[in-house]
């Protein structure tokens, strides 16, 4: 392949659990600073913030942002000196961009979990899987590329009651995800492994992120917690492990600007039970019997309130917790927010978003009013009760 001179002797390609690297301490990028960085998905929340941080770093020569849609107002302000290239990574054109700009660092942050944003499930899969394939093929061809960072997800561990309570990077799912975003991510990771085999000289960081929360990030999960009545699977109370969006951006930045190769679970410390999170968010759980979960999931999805795929409904049955020890020791990053504090920050600072998007408000307005009235009633009742309890407790205790 002609890249032997860059070969890192310490890299060992693992099998199932992803990439395994021997050599534990993150090294300084031996003399080679990041010259030209390319960020995919730059119009997204994480992509735009990452590109903005990179652009603010004077040691980085150029920052190129790629996306199929141009960044909008708020993101535009964040991007700074980032050069935007409107390109589809499914198109071989991306190869030209990389070659012409002599890109040395590629951050692939465009793998998405939300079919709505991508225009449906089929385009989403195309973007995720074919896009990654094309991008990695372009990276493989470009000699200038020295470092690749891929954003993956802990969803690759699947959702099942038959799995260990805490996943480490070397474990694989009891049943491999066979649909949706999780399956895309599994496929993306298999291309990544192929890429590492073909270009062992490239430092590759594969980052498996837990579910994001934060005051401004918009994900199916944050929308879910903004529902007035939160549907949950009856008789199940999954453990949730989250990651604050700020921590996510910082981990991406560190991976892009310093040498931290390997596969890492990126998740906050600690867990919250779903019921606990709903209570902390001041919402009301609506238990749905298991056979109806899929139905309710579909209904919620059709209504456009929450873009919840079936495998995400599964996630609400069993939850998923990963071990972040390798992130702390080998990667060398301690998440600033724990799961609980990240969730608290989300609850405290979230902007008051309309529960319904404008096009749904017309027909759903009445239903909303009824539901909100009901919630207010229940909430008032509950808070009155807890207030009374508090008062009583304060007087007598």
């Amino acid at each position: 392949m002609g890249h032997g001179r860059f070969c890192h002797p310490h890299i060992d390609i693992g099998q199932l659990g992803g990439l395994r690297f021997i050599g534990s301490t993150p090294r300084a990028y031996d003399g080679r600073m990041t010259g030209v960085a390319l960020v995919t998905g730059v119009s997204g929340y994480l992509g735009s913030r990452l590109a903005g941080r990179l652009a603010a770093d004077p040691t980085i020569g150029r920052v190129i942002g790629v996306d199929v849609v141009p960044p909008t107002g708020e993101q535009l302000n964040l991007l700074g000196r980032t050069e935007f290239v409107r390109a589809d990574i499914r198109n071989p054109l991306i190869s030209k961009v990389i070659a012409q700009a002599a890109v040395d660092t590629v951050v692939h942050a465009s793998v998405t979990a939300t079919p709505h944003n991508a225009g449906g499930r089929t385009p989403m899969k195309e973007m995720n899987v074919i896009g990654t394939m094309q991008l990695l093929a372009a990276c493989q061809k470009a000699d200038s590329v020295r470092r690749v960072v891929v954003k993956s997800t802990t969803a690759v561990y699947g959702n099942s009651a038959r799995d260990p309570a805490i996943f480490t990077e070397d474990m694989s799912a009891y049943a491999l995800p066979n649909a949706g975003y999780a399956k895309d991510a599994v496929e993306v990771e298999s291309y990544v492994r192929g890429f590492v085999r073909r270009r062992p000289d490239v430092e590759l960081s594969l980052l498996r992120f837990a579910n994001f929360v934060g005051p401004y990030i918009d994900t199916p999960l944050t929308r879910y917690f903004q529902l007035p009545l939160v549907p949950v699977a009856f008789g199940f109370d999954p453990r949730l492990q989250l990651l604050h969006a700020e921590d996510a951006v910082e981990v991406l930045r560190l991976a892009a600007t310093s040498s931290r190769p390997g596969t890492f679970n990126v998740a906050a410390d600690g867990v919250l039970l779903l019921s606990q999170a709903i209570r902390r968010a001041g919402r009301i759980a609506l238990p749905v019997p298991e056979p109806a979960v899929a139905l309710v999931g579909r209904a919620v999805r059709r209504s456009g309130l929450v873009d919840f795929s079936p495998e995400q409904m599964q996630f609400l049955n069993f939850g998923r917790v990963v071990c972040n020890a390798r992130l702390k020791t080998e990667f060398g990053y301690q998440p600033r927010f724990s799961t609980a504090s990240a969730f608290a920050d989300f609850v405290r600072r979230r902007p008051v978003l309309p529960v319904l998007s404008p096009e749904h408000q017309a027909w759903a307005g009445r239903a909303e009013a009824v539901a909100l009235g009901l919630v207010a009633e229940l909430d008032a009742g509950r808070s009155a009760l807890s207030r009374r309890l508090l008062k009583w407790g304060a007087e007598h205790g």
């Binding site: 009651a161 038959r162 799995d163 260990p164 309570a165 805490i166 480490t168 474990m171 699977a233 009856f234 008789g235 199940f236 109370d237 453990r239 600690g270 867990v271 919250l272 039970l273 019921s275 606990q276 999170a277 709903i278 209570r279 902390r280 298991e290 069993f318 917790v321 509950r382 009760l385 807890s386 207030r387 309890l389 508090l390 008062k391 009583w392 407790g393 304060a394 007087e395 007598h396 205790g397």
Partner: protein, 337 residues
Amino acid sequence: MADARVIRLHPERDSENAKPLRSVRSDTASAETAETAETAETAEATESTGTAGSRAESSWERAAAAGLAFLRRRLTGDYQVDDFGFDAELTETAVVPLFKPLYEKWFRTEVSGVQHLPENSGALIVANHAGALWAIDAVMTAVAVHEETPGHRFLRMLGADLVFTTPVLAPLARKTGGTLACNPDAERLLAGGELVGVWPEGFKGIGKPFGERYKLQRFGRGGFVSAALRTGTPIIPTSIVGSEEIHPMLGNAKTLARLLNLPYFPLTPTFPWLGPLGLVPLPSKWHIEFGEPIETAKYGPESADDPMLVFELTDRVREQIQGTLYRLLTQRRSVWH
């Protein structure tokens, strides 16, 4: 009454401010939840240092206040669970007290060998499994560990996957310290210094006919032994007597079991004939003995992959439990007392 007590609680503050108590109280009540919680806690803390004279009348109130504080934390989600979903507060405040009467009054459980349980390090408790209807022997072992150990330790139980796919049962098992019986979980708990309980006979043990009572079934593949070896924690063979008689299993409705996707469907003298009443266990007299620990640290963690050693240790554990069971049975005067 409230006024009188409060004055004793904050003598210096009241004399300094000379402020009417009522207004102090209402200020606190209207403040933020967190602050109120703090104040309530400090009040509780100060209360415990109160004079002996007030103790008799305030004990009930203290209990009520603690109960209310607990309820408030539940309502607002203000409690901690560990990575496995274990809710120590709920277990200690609600679940153990719920099963304690069953443990103390119904089964009159006697416990021996508590000195074999380490005070603050990890150990693997391996016990025989029985009871036909539900794993009540596991619950009783957990109560015994919590009640009898000086530090009121919790037992982290390893359960079958059926437990974690069953609605209601699944979250309850996690909240009370259970997790799936698999090596990664067991090793993580043991390495974290927890007391872990495992019933390696599984469904073969719990669903065996009454005629085979106290005969240990096969001990699986010895996964629990390799978990102990890898973490260097002692194995404590534990024998439970009394659990076999609570629901004498006379038959097994196999077709019904297959239909309901269960490993077996027990038929006992009372179940399912008496409906929910059939779930009431017979009041046998129980004895739980925590046996002499089997040390594993000397073999080293790499020995976990040595199948001969694993089988040998599995057999040793099994024989020790079986031997103790026979000894306890011969010492027993009657099933009921």
